[in-house]
């Protein structure tokens, strides 16, 4: 049972208060996009072994969506941040680099 810090409430939130939302930082493709782009957007997901970025909602709390950077192997949480960003914060990327040198996740790292 994970504990994540809700970046809005600032409190350590138990997993029972959270709703998982899958991969973070997806770029939406709508009408006019190619079949490949749309397939990539809607279905193709990272299956990271190690550093991963994902969406969570503090559903039984403030109701806000946020992002978490987490290691899928050890469940170490590197940090959480608001969902209203198109890339992970630079400080967080540096923190992850210190702990997991050479990490890479999609176009980040």
């Amino acid at each position: 049972m994970l504990i994540l810090i809700c970046p809005y409430c600032g409190v350590a939130v138990d997993e029972t208060e959270l709703q998982p939302g899958g991969e973070a930082h997806l770029k939406r493709y709508g009408p006019g996009s190619s079949d490949e782009e749309f397939e990539q957007y809607l279905f193709q997901r990272e299956n990271a072994k190690g550093v991963h970025f994902e969406r969570w909602r503090h559903v039984n709390g403030c109701g806000k969506w946020f992002h978490a950077a987490r290691c899928t192997v050890t469940l170490e949480v590197f940090g959480t941040y608001p969902a209203q960003m198109i890339a992970p914060p630079e400080e967080l990327c540096q923190l992850i680099a210190a702990k997991r040198p050479g990490w890479r996740w999609r176009e980040f790292g």
Partner: protein, 1003 residues
């Protein structure tokens, strides 16, 4: 024969006798006894039968690891099977019955399995039941049904209550032996908030039994002082009868407290499940002694050496008159010395090591005990009990050299640290060759959210066996834990203890080393599941290499004891058979709980009315008073119909439909979702959420809207009303309110976070009542108030005002095809408004109707229902709803997906009406068959029924369904199948069966 000795027994109180029964036979024990020690004191040798061969089984252990002594405990509403006699404290009036035998414990028909045991080898179930097929029904299944399952399922509802308890601590110490106590002392000295739990009713673990000394005093006295001191500290909580059941991610721990299992007349909750968040965990979980594998080691009377010592020292019970000790390590000599000190006869100590010269063997020699080194037990003599042992050389193949008569064999194959809790959350193990045990590997500890270790082992759980090492590891674990918390503890000296010099263990996995197949097929590894050395060797021969596969194939360690005494021996035998080292074989996965916990504890308070709280509309009580037949819809209860005296539910539904169509009906629609969407960008936002254009909806108007997922599939529908320039009210389905509100928030927060929109779910703020039928307007006008005429409030518009004294928002929308007003009033006025309508409607013949009448009326009109016509694979275009999909918009959720080739395929199954030729009602979900067979040899299909009812309005069955190219095939006949396989013919028609022009709703 086992018996109570005249003196001794540190846990029992001889002044407090307790009466109990075993298989109906009255017996007597003392306060402080376990059921196991009391049975032994009463001379009860056989306590159960094994699972596969129904072999007679005696007590092997004295604690949680006991594989054999499983009991049916209690009676009636307090009956429970599979309780371990060794962990059940005795109380006055306890009723115990042995299990897994028929007709009696002493004579059991199933034991015949034992005679055919060579036909029941490892993997028997996989090998035998394949063929011939008829044997399954007539031979195998009755056989398995007769023999399967341990104990009996309780027949009556549990009389007890259970509870959950949430707690957060700095340091959780699991295990109340001297290591756990030491660790709790050291950790709490830093000021950390400490919880110390112990699974049994007693503190101190093995140390007092084994004669350890701490700080110059007997362990028992040290423990008592330490507990007194600990209990006085404000930052320390201690609990006995509380087992650490499992350690999970990020410091989550479950503990299982047995509050009243030892009480004759239990009051209050029986078990408490502790849900602990611990920042640091110290696992001081001790160690379990291993059996030795020699022929006949499963006979009642063969016990773990440590257990023999426990029964003797803790309960003053001698397991037999004459004992033989067999041990490959020095610790086993403690049992010989304890028996000797208690005046019991020790016939011999059998030690496979070539020499035994440590302090303990020398002490045994000094008191004149016979020690045979380099020696093994060739075979235990006896049927259903131990009569003696045959000796042989450990290095040989079992040639008997001597027979010794005895009735107890105390065996010690060395100790295995209890690494279960360490391992639950990813802690790794390391094989210690010198001590022949898997130990926690401190460099690979379970790590928490910060990536740092949060579990530390202490005491014998680390593999430490000497008292000094045990205490040192505990102090060290406490120091590491407090440092991890950022606290500083005062320097802690390790208490002094008497030194113990022990010589190395000789790992012995098969005794004697060269035993042939005949002996190996009598060497038990798993006593409960009847897995023998020969079974594991057969599995290896048949190609099993993974320990996990071997476990499942042989069932080794899969019994209720989860292999606590058998796993290490089993994997050692496997490694020998495969010719590889033990660490290469590895262990099976340790999974929580450590020992079984009750289902009641897991459920806690969540049962009966608290299992899933029911949502009630403001009018719920009226429905209940008026005989509603309930239907669960999401977490709500809605009236399905209101049957009158003597009326069937079906007849009530028919009456409600007819009454509503002829005069006027009343529907409690309060459960419908209501979401306010407000803001400068709300129109733009709703244009993305709905397939329709909502931004252009004029003030005062209503529009039926469709919502799709990004994958294109229809997910919800409902009427949207424009409240003011920047505000819309979105109605959702009853089950969809929370989901759709979440869906809106997700898109707003994660995709269009710069749009100025606010959403609020106001579902429960309003009671909403449908006044439906030709007399609807007349009823409302009787109450007086706002103008509800066709001119003032036309179809698909809404208005706000007063009806009678009620604050009302009135929507002229219809889900029935009738003249219909849906009136929302503040929730607090809901019941009064409903009652006012019932009174006002009396002259018109008003009657409430339920969800089934609602369904029939909407089906008569061809209106779709989310969840009936949709199932997550249906797009609006399949349902003839193209009119509700805006052609002017560039984008909406699902638009791109709906452009994919298979979504625009003309062969898609589409919505039509279906009319049986004979007027009967089609079965729900029935398929329309097509020519030919599919790849699985099944008939091809070309459509299916999605909604089907008897229509009282039309006097016949009506249905809606999805049919390939359906709308192009009006008038064609299809064949549907029912579950019996019969064919029903139906014609494809328009889905609108009633009032196709919509004249009735638009008056």
């Amino acid at each position: 024969m086992s018996k109570r000795l005249a003196s001794g027994g540190r846990r029992i109180d001889r002044s407090l006798p307790l009466d109990f029964t075993f298989n109906g036979k009255p017996m007597r024990g003392f306060a402080g006894d376990t059921l196991a020690s009391a049975l032994m004191a009463n001379g009860q040798k056989i306590v159960g039968r094994s699972f596969k061969y129904h072999r007679p089984r005696g007590l092997v252990a004295s604690g949680a690891e006991e594989p054999n002594a499983l009991m049916n405990l209690g009676t009636g509403r307090r009956f429970e099977p599979n309780q371990r006699a060794t962990t059940q404290e005795l109380y006055d009036g306890l009723v115990a019955r042995s299990q897994n035998h028929w007709p009696s414990l002493e004579f059991d028909v199933g034991a015949l399995n034992s005679l055919v045991s060579r036909f029941l080898p490892a993997g028997f179930y996989y090998k035998m039941f394949l063929w011939p097929r008829a044997f399954w029904k007539h031979v195998y299944e009755p056989f398995i049904r007769q023999s399967a399952g341990l104990g009996q399922a309780p027949a009556a509802r549990d009389a007890d209550t259970y509870e959950h308890f949430n707690v957060s601590v700095d340091v959780l110490v699991i295990g109340g032996g001297i290591a756990g106590i030491m660790a709790a002392q050291a950790a709490s000295a830093s000021g950390a908030d400490v919880l110390l739990i112990e699974q049994s009713a007693h503190w101190g673990g093995r140390a007092p039994v084994d004669g350890a000394e701490v700080e110059g005093q007997p362990a028992e006295a040290w423990v008592e002082n330490a507990l007194t001191e600990l209990s006085a500290r404000e930052n320390v909580r201690v609990r006995t009868r509380t087992m650490g059941a499992g350690i999970y991610d990020h410091g989550y721990v479950l503990a299982y407290e047995r509050l009243t299992d030892h009480e004759p007349d239990p009051q209050g909750p029986r078990h408490r499940l502790w849900k602990i968040r611990a920042r640091q965990v110290i696992a001081a979980t001790g160690a379990i002694e291993r059996p030795l594998s020699f022929a006949g080691n499963d006979l009642p009377g063969v016990m773990l050496a440590s257990a023999v010592r426990d029964y003797l020292v803790d309960y003053g019970v001698s397991p037999g008159a004459r004992s033989v000790i067999v041990t490959n390590n020095d610790d086993g000599y403690r049992t010989a010395l304890a028996l000797h000190a208690a005046g019991q006869t020790v016939k011999a100590i059998i030690d496979p090591r070539m020499k035994a010269t440590g302090a303990l063997p020398e002490a045994a020699r000094a008191v004149g005990l016979r020690i045979e080194t380099g020696t093994a037990i060739a075979k235990v003599k006896g049927v259903a009990k131990v009569d003696g042992v045959f000796l042989c050389a450990q290095s040989g193949d079992g040639d008997k050299t001597e027979e010794i008569a005895c009735d107890v064999v105390a065996m010690s194959g060395g100790w295995s640290p209890v690494v279960h809790l360490w391992s639950h959350c990813g802690g790794k193990l390391r094989w210690d060759d010198a001590r022949a045990m898997f130990c926690p590997y401190p460099d690979r500890a379970p790590t928490g959210a910060d990536g740092l270790p949060f579990v530390r082992a202490a005491g014998t759980a680390t593999g430490a066996l000497a008292t000094a090492d045990v205490l040192t590891s505990a102090v060290e674990a406490a120091r590491a834990a407090t440092e991890a918390l950022g606290l500083t503890a005062p320097a802690q000296d390790v208490p002094t203890s008497a030194p113990t010099e022990e010589e190395p263990i000789l790992p012995v996995w098969v005794m004697p080393g060269g035993a042939g197949h005949k002996l190996r097929s009598k060497m038990w590894l798993d006593f409960q599941n009847d897995v023998k050395v020969s079974d594991v060797q057969l599995a290896a021969q048949e190609g099993y290499q993974s320990v996990e596969h071997t476990k499942r194939y042989t069932t080794l360690g899969m019994a209720t004891d989860q292999g606590k005494t058998s796993n290490i021996n089993g994997l050692a035998v496997l490694s020998q058979s495969l010719g590889i080292d033990i660490p290469e074989v590895g262990t099976t996965t340790f999974r929580p709980p450590y020992t079984p916990i009750s289902m009641g504890a897991i459920g806690g308070e969540a049962r009966g009315a608290l299992f899933q709280p029911i949502r009630q509309t403001p009018i719920h009580a009226w429905h209940e008073d008026n005989g509603a037949h309930w239907e669960p819809v999401g977490h709500w209860r809605r009236p399905y119909a209101f049957p009158r005296d003597g009326e069937s539910v079906h007849d009530a539904v028919m009456r409600e439909v007819t009454n509503t169509r002829d005069t006027v009906g009343l529907l409690d629609a309060s459960t419908l979702g209501k979401i306010i969407v407000k803001g400068p960008d709300a129109g733009q936002f709703l244009d993305m959420m709905y397939t329709n254009m909502m931004s252009t909806l004029p003030l005062g108007r209503c529009r039926y809207g469709l919502m799709c997922t990004e994958n294109g599939f229809l997910t919800d529908d409902g009427v949207v009303a424009r409240l003011d320039e920047t505000t819309w009210l979105c109605h959702t389905t009853t089950g969809g309110a929370d989901r759709i509100h979440g869906h809106m928030e997700e898109w707003l927060q994660t995709e269009w976070w710069d749009w100025r929109v606010h959403t609020v779910n106001v579902t429960e703020q309003y009671a909403q009542i449908g006044v439906v039928g030709p007399d609807a307007r007349n009823v409302l006008e009787t109450l007086g108030g706002m103008d509800l005429s066709a001119d003032a409030l036309p179809f698909m518009q809404w208005a706000e005002g007063k009806i009678g004294d009620f604050d009302a928002r009135v929507f002229r929308i219809s889900f029935s095809g009738e003249l219909s007003y849906e009136v929302a009033v503040p929730a607090a006025q809901g019941l009064a408004f409903w009652e006012a309508l019932i009174r006002a409607g009396q002259p018109f013949g008003i009657a409430p109707y339920g969800t089934e009448a609602l369904h029939i009326m909407r089906a008569e009109k061809g209106f779709i229902m989310i969840g009936d016509e949709t199932d997550g694979t249906v797009i609006p275009q399949d349902l003839g709803l193209n009119w509700a999909i805006s052609k002017k918009k560039d984008d909406y959720l699902g638009k791109r997906a709906q452009a994919r080739s298979h979504m625009t395929d003309p062969d898609r199954w589409k919505l039509v009406g279906l009319e049986t030729l004979d007027g009967s009602v089609l079965p729900d979900g029935a398929y329309a068959v097509d020519e030919g067979l599919n790849g699985n040899g099944q008939r091809n299909t070309q459509g299916r029924v999605t909604s089907t009812y008897h229509s009282p309005t039309l006097g016949r069955g009506i249905a809606m369904g999805l049919v390939r190219r359906g709308p192009d095939r009006l008038g064609e006949e299809l064949e549907f199948t029912n579950v019996e396989g019969a064919r029903i013919r139906a014609r494809i028609v328009s889905p609108v069966f009633f009032d196709p022009e919509g004249e009735k709703q638009n008056v």
